[in-house]
Symmetry: C2
Subunit: 345 residues, 2 copies
DNA sequence: CTGTTAGCGCGTTCAT
DNA sequence: ATGAACGCGCTAACAG
């Protein structure tokens, strides 16, 4: 079954290849009768267009490269899904590169040099494939300036950022402020917080939201309620134990990711402190498991899908050379479940 | 910054484009001195090869198309990761299509016609892009014969199958047999099973493993211990309640997915039955949450990564026209956690 | 052995 | 509606 091309059709339909091309693309008028004849032959021969030839001539591939730091990390698939929704809609395609960072360098994301070669290779390959732009999906929101040089090809970062390029993030400050507002609306006043590492931008931003809520709603500010974790389960456990030793315990804890919530739950379970009866908890990330543990965790959902979709919107407008106004910070949404009790009468 | 091509280099290095091509590919000997000069110019001009031109001539793209029914479903990312590992190693690339089935048709996977058009479009697009083969990743192990016609282009299915094409699955029967063996080794004799829908092949295969263990180890066979669920959380809950009403309760339950385990845990919690003290549980899938609930679930891990990798192995050998011997059924591995107690002295 | 010329792959598009 | 040049890199055939 040898490949059937445009000229096979031309021959069989007794027209030139140009004509075939015109009917195929509707680029120019073709006499209806000729058109029909060509169409019929196309059908008969089961013709499949060859996009690589087309791309060579048109200098457009309609392919955008997606570099995911690790597709197996929780935030990535949903972002890709958002990218896909856009791609589907506008007939673009996704060349996916997976850096497999988690398996290759573990949690050592800080040391950019450890994986710079992977990133560089990925970009080189993608450029050779003539992608029209690149979306880079991080697994941890952090500054990766200097990791990548696209030689002028448009790139948009999401779930991470650089000094000078466009990036799509979510609104961290609003998220923690909203979480606080929810807790306060439920009558909580003594609210502790377990943050992630403080060298992380999200941590600081979320802390800002926490602090802004404290001041705006004139809550008592107790420095002992501020605990710094490291995003890991164990640190959630440890920090919670510390909170339990306070003479005046908090009635609620805002915890910056669901993993640390699990640690907190273990600490509370061991101490015989019931959730949410004795202590309420709000988490972050809306990880899948937060709906399956007991009690189910009330948590902030991240707008991952939206981030993927927006990345594509921004990227395509940059490709087209349009100046764009866009929302770089889609908002998080609180998912109410069972880990918060109302203190109101 | 206009695109620099092979002929720009040729001109600047005072050689023919052929020579440049030869140094670029090592296709033929070039005098070291000339070679060096060319290389230097390539460096200076920051030349990036154009794979689409190359592909047009060579009739090879090194791209394989991956159609995922839904990248946000738990099994898919790890399979893609396996595909990527292979692709990375052999310098191939992945054109990813996401059917987004979950969002588009919900759980209505049975009705192939509901999404046939998406699949057909995906294949057409991929063929136009001249992919050298296709891997189709299902979200549920089932027969999807007739969904796709690749016009002779090699395709491998994984996490689903068809009448006549190659597919990579995992060994369901071994998995449930091993789970039973583990339970039996821990002194359990009265072992119940909550299966998924019985029209599903994995359900039947796993039931075979259960039954084979029962007979091989000469356990008492009690038909009342066999419960048929529907993979959903609620059915795990319901079936477990039924089991609790039995005059002689089982000491352990083998449950065919972790989601139903969660349902079971809720039923047991309500009934004041402790896991694993009063009843032991083994799940299936090793979902992320199984490590976070209390107690942590002992469950069968699926060889997803391996399935992705194997799919690529098989696909590439088919592409090369080699006859292949391969393991179509990588094995599952039991992950020991805290939901099984030993009954042994 | 080293280097060059020219045609090709497949579809698009301009000038006729 | 058509012929032919073109996009970019590969490679067969040929020359020195």
């Amino acid at each position: 079954m040898t490949r059937v091309g445009i000229k096979d059709i031309a021959k069989k339909a007794n027209v030139s290849t140009a004509t075939v091309s015109y009917v195929l693309n509707g680029t120019r008028n073709v006499r209806p009768k000729t058109k029909e004849r060509v169409l019929k032959v196309i059908e008969e021969l089961n013709y499949t267009p060859n996009d690589v030839a087309k791309s060579l001539k048109s200098q457009r591939t309609n392919i955008i490269g997606v570099i995911a730091e690790d597709v197996t990390v929780f935030n990535v698939p949903e972002i890709i899904d958002g990218i896909n929704e856009y791609a589907d809609r506008y007939d673009m395609h996704i060349l996916l590169t997976n850096l497999r960072l988690h398996k290759r360098v573990g949690h050592n994301y800080g040391n950019i040099d450890a994986y710079k070669k992977y990133a560089t290779n990925a970009v080189t390959d993608l450029l050779s494939k003539q992608v029209e732009g690149i979306i880079y999906i991080g697994v941890h929101p952090r500054d990766i300036t200097g990791l990548i040089d696209t030689r002028g090809k448009p790139i948009v970062y999401t779930y991470c950022y650089t000094d000078s390029d466009i990036s799509i993030q979510y609104n961290n400050e609003q998220a923690s402020f909203d979480a606080m507002k929810y807790l306060i609306a439920n009558g909580h006043q003594r609210i502790a917080i377990i943050s992630g590492l403080m060298d992380s931008l999200p941590s600081r931003l979320r802390f800002n939201g926490y602090y802004r809520a404290i001041t705006e709603f004139q809550l008592p500010f107790d420095p002992q309620f501020i605990k710094v974790g490291d995003w890991g389960l164990e640190s959630g456990y440890l920090m919670t134990k510390e909170l339990l030793q306070l003479p005046q315990r908090p009635t609620a804890i805002l915890i910056m990711n669901d993993i640390m919530v699990i640690g907190a739950m273990r600490a509370l379970y061991e101490a015989g402190v019931a959730i949410p009866k004795d202590i309420s908890i709000v988490g972050f990330d809306n990880r899948e498991f937060s709906d399956y543990v007991n009690p189910r965790i009330t948590t902030m959902d991240l707008p991952l899908h939206q981030m993927g979709y927006s990345s594509m919107e921004v990227l395509t407008s940059v490709i087209k050379g349009e100046a764009v106004e866009f929302d770089r910070s889609p908002t998080c949404t609180l998912i109410e479940r069972d880990s918060v009790a109302s203190l109101l009468p």
